[in-house]
Symmetry: C2
Subunit: 380 residues, 2 copies
């Protein structure tokens, strides 16, 4: 760089890393996980907790910080997609700003599902242009997906995650015990993301779900196979996102199930969970893949059988092809002008396509109708 010139160039490089670590019994006063990152004397912690989690764990949480000599300000936020709002983002920031903390060595802590960790991550990324944050996922979706990556965000203008930041956490602490009290519907919600991973990149995970999925759902992943499946899901997710954390490459395998689902999650008064919308997207996508000769009839049978066996919900009422097409159009803007839709090519592999047509989507909607009619007929 020189002084007198017609132009200057500023170069920069940022390197960093973060750790995802198992920390069972996380609120035990002697567990150093939550108290060790950051400064040690006279320190303060700003903690945002999912309302439902706090209802169950408030005493433990308060005792943990008190007995570790920390002045903790605890704020609760209700879970649920409708609470992932700009209003809650600003509420967190007001509370934080009125409880001053040091900019670098008093990390803020998020304890909850994806809604809470996404909200807190975005708030942390924008407070004083970025302060450190720690994630403690309490849902299955958070444990294997939302809390372990660097994507944060809030819904805006009726669009999911329209605002947000790539904001790596300082650390992620995993305590599987939170899953014990999770309602069955929220366990299944996370299982849908496991099926996604199995289908597009890990045939072994798919096999595991076929053999042990039912038992794991029953034990809420507290048994040994449950831990194995959790670990394999985390590994698969990190293996996929680590080389492409900032999405320089917009063709992402983990976007399987995240093309048509996008528009399904923002249906007014709809109440699909994220994983439920992803599963519907998977159903439409495998139908398209089948018609294109990417999946055999036997593979389709296997996938539908797994969905049925695990009791996963495929409720397609109120979904028409027009809505799915609009969602694809939106994702095409997001993927910079190309569809880049991942489709499975056999179980455990995938390819990307850019030419899905309206009538293929209509056919997929009709196909899902047939599949579920057959299923309902069988049940009767």
């Amino acid at each position: 760089m020189t002084e007198q010139t017609a132009s200057w160039r500023v170069n920069f490089r940022q390197t960093a890393s973060y750790q995802i670590r198992k920390a069972p019994d996380i609120f035990h006063p002697n567990n150093r996980a939550l108290s060790s990152p950051g400064r040690k004397f006279g320190d303060r912690r700003f903690v945002v907790v999912d309302q439902t989690v706090f209802n169950t764990h408030s005493d433990e949480i308060r005792t943990y910080f008190t007995s570790n000599g920390m002045d903790a300000k605890i704020v609760t936020i209700p879970g649920g997609e409708e609470n992932k709002s700009v209003d809650n983002y600003l509420t967190i920031l007001y509370e934080l700003d009125n409880f001053p903390i040091h900019r670098r060595d008093e990390p803020i802590i998020a304890i909850g599902g994806g809604v809470v960790t996404d909200l807190v991550g975005f708030a942390a990324s924008s407070y004083r242009r970025g302060i450190p944050h720690i994630n403690v996922p309490t849902t299955l979706m958070g444990y294997i997906d939302a809390s372990i990556g660097i994507k944060t965000g809030v819904n805006f203008n009726f669009q999911k995650n329209r605002l947000g930041a790539f904001s790596p956490p300082l650390q992620v602490f995993l305590d599987r015990a939170f899953l014990k009290t999770l309602p069955r519907r929220h366990i299944l919600n996370g299982v849908c993301e496991m099926i996604k991973l199995g289908l597009i990149k890990d045939r072994g995970l798919f096999n595991l779900l076929e053999h042990s999925g039912e038992a794991c759902i029953h034990s809420k992943f507290q048994d040994e196979t449950g831990e194995k499946i959790l670990d394999r899901s985390i590994y698969g997710m990190l293996d996929e996102i680590q080389p492409n954390l900032f999405e320089e490459n917009l063709a992402r395998k983990v976007d399987f199930g995240h093309t048509f689902s996008y528009g399904l999650e923002t249906i007014p008064d709809g109440d699909l969970l994220h994983g439920e919308a992803v599963l519907l997207d998977i159903a439409f996508s495998i139908s398209i893949a089948h018609k294109r000769g990417l999946l055999t009839g036997a593979e389709i049978e296997r996938i539908l059988h797994l969905i049925d066996q695990l009791g996963l919900p495929l409720d397609h009422r109120g979904i028409d092809a027009r809505r799915l097409w609009k969602s694809l159009e939106e994702r095409t803007y997001h993927r910079n002008g190309l569809q880049r839709v991942p489709l499975p090519a056999g179980i455990g592999e995938c390819i990307f396509v850019n030419d899905i047509a309206k009538d293929e989507i209509q056919a997929a909607v009709n196909q899902l109708e047939e599949w579920t009619v057959v299923k309902h007929a069988e049940i009767r």
Copy 2:
């Protein structure tokens, strides 16, 4: 990274660079500066323009995009610190979201002073977790300071720049002609940042301001020496921030003049410009530096003479030591628990101190009172 483990580590590295380039006659239809970054066919541009700039240049701006075959959506934002608000940040995002653009190759364009480039930069950093943006500064403060770095932000909870992001621009285009129509007060506003740079790191710039500052202010930096001083200021700023873009090191020379000024800019109903607050901070700081033996009496004379000669405003009415102390306390949180206040040690050098006491600030306030009384007496 392995599958079965008690912890995983995610490593990442981001490299990038951006260019700051002179682009005179920027709205001439044949000037490719604004039209060249991004895609070439059927492209769209979202453009945010300072209201005052748009009042003068609306025809040129519209014609520029039309004649370059671009569908431009133009949004105007009034300048002034009170408009650097969360409301305007969200307004920009609503307008942007309702004018869809590709995520990667249709950069949004900010044309204005620091308020507009800071607002747009923060909006760009958070829309879809980051889209590219281009800065075109139209004020002297923007030209040599606000638009050329990577700091973006908005005011929040009565605190300046409390929310924001480190968000490198895709490019910065400089057209010195904008300064021609700038009111004298806004020219002086930028000159205060030049004095800051001269004092803490560039004695040559300080000398240039002594010899040619008056003439440059008169010509609004349109003459040859004006260009030399502008270039030297940009070079000095970039030289300082490039190795520390993300502020890993919180002891920053460019924070000279930005410790006590912070609280002065948020006085209710106050109307100090940023540079005016910085100049007051400089006055307090050199007084403290003088008392600590870091500046000689002759150096103080030289600095005060330059301020006087250039007609820079030192209006300290309504400022008491308590407010300055509170501002220092706030900046201490921002600088992670240490004051890290830069003080000049001779003209063109600086050191950092962490032990400024309340009574030193009171003495500095009294000293400024004396200096300005002497000045007023001399004028009479």
